[in-house]
């Protein structure tokens, strides 16, 4: 299998889907001539021309809202926001226009829209660093993908583009250069199917994107001490594969959610409530949430490191449960 970076995998998915379906268009700030500020869309203008790949004014509200309008009339727009935080800046358009335009018109419209939103990472400050997934997961009408590997980055994006519903597709900035095997051709990752990235008995860790990477590193270290953790990667947050998490927790009896979002009402809250509702008899060990302690994300890297869950934090949390 060829190896590709996460960033290349996204580019491949875009190119393949644009080739397959001429209704797919791609736009955003600096995506065409420059190939995107993170260079993810490099070369697509040359391949598909300025009618299908174009740069836009700095007008996030139109970027998203026009995606809704265009999707409702038969195009399949893929919109790049430069930073995932801007789903809040275009709040009306993301939550009401994309999330509800179909509903409020009784199903008369279909909105096959994908908003690509580079999340997480560091050094860009409070308004350019967030993982605003919980906002999306709380809102009705918006599907949500959080790919963690190059293979999923490609296969979830291809799937997202083919779905007839709006998808907020979070691509993690720190994963862009991650390399991994990506199967050739028509591979689609279904929405709503979590994957167990590592099997174990000691505790279930739920994590995705950079927190999955950190969890896997911590797991290696724990394994050397004879502690085998099970790691579930949800892959999509809406739909959300509750069953796989519950099954895993039934086996391990404990759960740690590691996420890069603010702790209160982060995705871990939903998982906690879910377990309380569905897995109470099996929970004989503590439930833990590792997340950002309800503060904005600062700019200085060492302050970011002080609040984002680290490999050490994960290692310690597992030890506390497993010991």
């Amino acid at each position: 299998m060829p190896t590709r970076t996460y960033s290349q995998a996204i580019n491949d998915a875009l190119a393949e889907e644009m080739r397959r379906d001429e209704n797919v268009i791609l736009y955003g700030q600096d995506v065409a001539v420059w190939g995107g500020i993170f260079k993810v869309t490099d070369g697509l203008l040359e391949k598909f021309g300025p009618d299908r790949v174009f740069d836009t004014p700095i007008s996030e509200n139109v970027m998203v809202g026009a995606g809704v309008g265009a999707a409702s009339m038969g195009l399949r727009p893929v919109v790049e926001l430069q930073f995932a935080d801007f789903v809040i800046t275009a709040g009306d358009e993301i939550f009401f226009k994309a999330g509800m335009w179909r509903y409020m018109h009784g199903g008369a419209h279909t909105i096959p829209l994908v908003v690509r939103a580079p999340s997480g990472g560091s050094g860009f400050g409070p308004e350019h660093s967030a993982c605003p997934e919980a906002f999306i997961m709380h809102a009705p009408g918006l599907l949500c993908a959080v790919p963690s590997t190059p293979a999923d980055a490609k296969a979830l994006l291809k799937q997202a583009i083919r779905l007839d519903n709006p998808v907020i597709y979070f691509e993690h900035k720190l994963l862009y250069q991650m390399r991994g095997e990506v199967p050739d051709g028509e591979v689609l990752t279904p929405f709503g199917k979590a994957v167990v990235r590592r099997e174990g008995e000691a505790v279930t860790i739920v994590a995705w994107q950079d927190m999955l990477r950190r969890s896997l590193t911590a797991a290696e270290r724990l394994s050397q001490e004879g502690i085998e953790v099970e790691i579930v990667d949800p892959r999509t947050l809406n739909p959300f594969d509750r069953e796989t998490i519950i099954e895993s927790v039934k086996k391990t009896g404990a759960c740690i959610v590691v996420e890069e979002a603010y702790r209160t009402l982060g995705v871990g809250a939903e998982i906690g409530a879910l377990l309380l509702e569905e897995a109470l008899p099996y929970l004989d060990k503590p439930f833990k949430r590792l997340a950002i302690p309800d503060v904005p994300i600062p700019t200085s890297q060492h302050l970011v490191d002080a609040i984002v869950p680290s490999v050490d934090d994960i290692y310690r949390a597992v030890k506390e449960i497993a010991d």
Binding site: P57, G69, P77, E93, M104, H105, G106, G107, A108, P140
Partner: protein, 315 residues
């Protein structure tokens, strides 16, 4: 606009006016929710503008009445069902009278947050340009709405990409209780066109022929790929912001009836011997018949099943 079209505008305006009056009556009686923002006084402008469109052109509209839908021939019964939450409702109980939709008739819908359709209109324009060249989308919005940010982003974007969009502002001098002069720094909303390098036209919204003509030009420009036009029709809101509004804040409220364009239009049609009084009576009677039939159909329709609330979130 030829005579036939003028009669058509009049006929639709009569129907819209009477239909809205019936809705208010039913709302007062508690049979429908009091959610209509009556369009009385603005229908002539709305309908004349729509007359300048082709049937395959599209419309996004604001909350000011149902004349847009009436002009496009949307079923009156279905609109009543929208309000009553009954079978037949175009938005299936989700949107009420605010979100009437009929895509085959070119009625794309409304954003509940004011001006939300500015951004949607840009996308519709993008799609039309690529998939249905030669068709246009017109967005009808209020003067107050023109102070929201999406106005700006959309006008600029539509202009720079030369999208087939027409922006039709109905300036009725108020946003609920707020006079335009206190909310808006500029005399005419159309003056803002200069900021986007597009034509900005002010027109008397009580004059259907004038409205039709400026729309014709705007539509031709949009069809030709030259981009949007910002039209501002000066209109009068004859009634309150919504059904229950007593308009204490409004000093001109007893004088507005004189500004009603509908009797003026009727007078013109009679003066120019286009219609006789008998014709007018027929038009009114026919409107009432349609309305009565619609009310009967709405009354006969069953309530939407409760589980409909859970549907239509996802395709």
């Amino acid at each position: 606009m030829d005579q036939e079209q003028l009669v058509k505008v009049f006929t639709s305006a009569v129907l819209a006016r009477r239909f809205e009056a019936k809705i208010v009556e039913l709302a007062m009686a508690g049979e429908l929710p009091p959610s209509l923002h009556v369009g009385a006084g603005q229908e002539v402008a709305q309908i004349a503008a729509i007359e300048a469109l082709r049937p395959d052109d599209y419309i996004l509209y604001g909350h000011r009445g149902v004349a847009y839908m009436v002009a496009r021939g949307v079923s009156l019964a279905d609109m009543l069902a929208d309000m009553a939450g009954k079978e037949g409702a175009t938005s299936r109980g989700k949107g009420g009278v605010m979100h009437v939709v009929d895509v085959p008739k070119g009625i794309l819908g409304e954003s509940g947050t004011l001006g939300g359709s500015f951004v949607v209109s840009v996308g519709v324009g993008m799609a039309l340009k690529r998939k249905q060249p030669d068709t246009v989308v017109t967005y009808f919005f209020g003067d107050g709405t023109a102070n929201r940010g999406p106005f700006h982003e959309a006008l600029n974007w539509a202009a720079v990409q030369k999208l087939p969009c027409v922006y039709f502002c109905e300036n009725n001098g108020f946003a609920i209780s707020m006079p335009t002069s206190r909310s808006t720094a500029v005399e005419n909303i159309a003056d803002r066109a200069a900021g986007y390098n597009v034509p900005g036209v002010v027109v008397d919204g009580s004059d259907p022929v004038a409205v039709y003509e400026v729309m014709e030009q705007a539509v031709a420009r949009a069809r030709a790929g030259h981009g949007p036009t910002l039209i501002e029709a000066k209109v009068t809101r004859l009634q309150g912001h919504y059904v229950a509004d007593q308009q204490e804040y409004r000093t001109d409220r007893n004088a507005v009836a004189e500004k009603d364009p509908l009797p003026k239009l009727q007078q013109t049609l009679c003066d120019r011997d286009i219609l006789t009084q008998a014709d007018v009576d027929d038009i009114q009677a026919d409107a009432d018949r349609q309305i009565e039939a619609a009310v009967a159909a709405m009354r006969a329709a069953p309530l939407l099943a409760p589980e409909v609330a859970l549907q239509d979130v996802y395709a």
